[in-house]
Symmetry: C2
């Protein structure tokens, strides 16, 4: 654990930093005197975990597996893709389960080949987001010029459709991290809209080194998750449980979000993802098997890890 | 058979009618001197059948079952819903199987609850087609005012997306018959666009009595299928094969289109259609089982029925 590794010198440095921050009042992105865990009412060394399923709405198999995950009690949160064909199914679930922790997975890409989606906004108003057939781009490359005004319009349209369908999201995040990893302008669009709707945005301190604009754009009361863990294509299928088990055993104090992708390895999911294995049907089934399996629950207990939700984070932010 | 039932008096009446038609040149919708079968190069009493699968693109299960039907050789034609999420999958199939007889199933409704779709055109340009969340209406009621100009814009957008994706449709028809059964104005929109793209439109003579504007709007060279057969919710599941067997045994001479709905009774299809049984997962599995079953092929042979395609009809129309 980080606290055990800390030597006396480090403790002095942290103390100095905290005092400076309190004096200057200029530390952004986090209340300088209290950790996120403390803002939530836990001790500074508590290990708090959001197990978060992405991509709800993409297929029925993703919806069904994610609902099963949420109802197992071991998946604490999830987010929904409004432009996707099965959004009405998960919106119906959200309306009928107002306590479920469901946010919006803001989506400006349509990365698959055989199953695709396009904007919620009027196409003519968001041309920079669209390929020649009118779908979102498969991917954004260096040559893709995304107009931030159009991104904002589309993000607002997605949020407005969710509310129009009776959904009250608990938080916002970004499909494929596109809106966070593509420069300051797009991130500030998300942040501005999030503040307006009073919704927390999933940002992790882990990302600040690579994308310094994230930290500099955040305001004092924005939530910053301490750590995030997500499995990558470099992990072979047979090492799946080992990867997650290690991540849980070495969990740092503070708030961590596990970003996972649930689905069933069935006909629909295989067809939807058949052009590549990454984040494909078998991948999602492996995530499902681990996070709804008996071993995961026991690991959480043994490591004294508490599952939390975005609703709790939002509440903490609003109280300040 | 109708020809056997014909008495001498009837033959005289028909002869008179043909002579009158040839003289006046005013018979619309069909070359008065030749039946559709004859225009296709068959004898007047040939029994020609298009076995046509609707709704391709709606789900993966519909695509997979319809492709299997087409490849069995016993389903001769199908049409695709461009606004639907799995259109890219069937468009990919169409590009790679240029001989497959695939038309466009023009779609202005989104009749399901958990899986939905909206326009291909820019939303702001087609407001009369959309519900408050921006999907196509579930259904059109007496109070739904569909602006024909907006319908035309959307139809053109669907056709243009298909061509943009490398699809060359063989014909046009209308999802839930909405564009044919909702008045002269909408039908004339379809017809105008179809003429422009030189695509035949599925119209059956059976419909003229209920919708006389169909006949009066058609021009001389438009294709008119003589009969159409589609199973209705009044047929109980256990009578499915009996219904189709009777329809095949009593097939009239001329061109008949069987409008069928293929799909697998799997998780995706059940979820997509779970709000009602009509045209649901089990319904589509029953259609699939009958039309790809050994008995259907034998019946066609015994009754001397020849399967034809829309490509053949289009070719016949263009030769005149």
């Amino acid at each position: 654990m980080a606290s055990q590794r800390m030597n006396n010198h480090a403790v002095e440095v942290v103390f100095l930093f905290v005092m400076l921050a309190a004096f200057s009042g200029s530390v952004v992105g986090q209340n300088a005197t209290a950790s996120l865990a403390e803002r939530l009412g836990y001790s500074r060394d508590a290990k708090l975990l959001i197990v978060h399923a992405d991509d709800l709405g993409m297929t029925h198999a993703v919806n069904a597996a994610s609902i099963q995950g949420l109802e197992s009690g071991l998946v604490s949160s999830a987010s929904m893709m409004v432009p996707c064909p099965w959004f009405p199914e998960i919106a119906d679930y959200a309306r009928n389960h107002p306590d479920a922790d469901l946010g919006l997975h803001l989506t400006l890409t349509s990365e698959r080949v055989y199953l695709r989606w396009g904007p919620v906004a009027s196409k003519e108003k968001v041309p920079s987001l669209l390929d020649p057939a009118g779908y979102f781009f498969h991917d954004w490359s260096a040559g893709t010029h995304i107009n931030p005004k159009e991104a904002e319009l589309e993000i607002r349209a997605q949020i407005e459709r969710a509310y129009a369908m009776g959904v009250h999201p608990t938080h916002l995040d970004s499909h494929q991290y596109r809106l966070f990893a593509s420069g300051k302008e797009l991130f500030e669009v998300v942040l501005r809209v999030a503040h307006e709707y009073q919704l927390p945005v999933f940002v992790a301190r882990d990302w600040f080194a690579e994308h310094p604009y994230l930290e500099s754009s955040l305001s004092r009361n924005d939530i910053v998750v301490d750590h995030t863990v997500t499995i990558e294509p470099t992990v072979p299928a047979e090492k799946w449980a080992e990867f997650y088990t290690n991540a849980i055993r070495s969990l740092e104090p503070g708030v961590t979000e596990f970003v996972i992708h649930l689905g069933y390895d069935d006909e629909e999911m295989r067809a939807a993802t058949r052009e590549r294995d990454t984040w494909g049907a078998a991948w999602r089934q492996r995530d499902f098997d681990f996070f709804t399996g008996a071993e995961f629950g026991k690991l959480l207990q043994r490591q004294n890890i508490k599952l939390i939700t975005w609703r709790e984070l939002a509440r903490a932010a609003k109280q300040e």
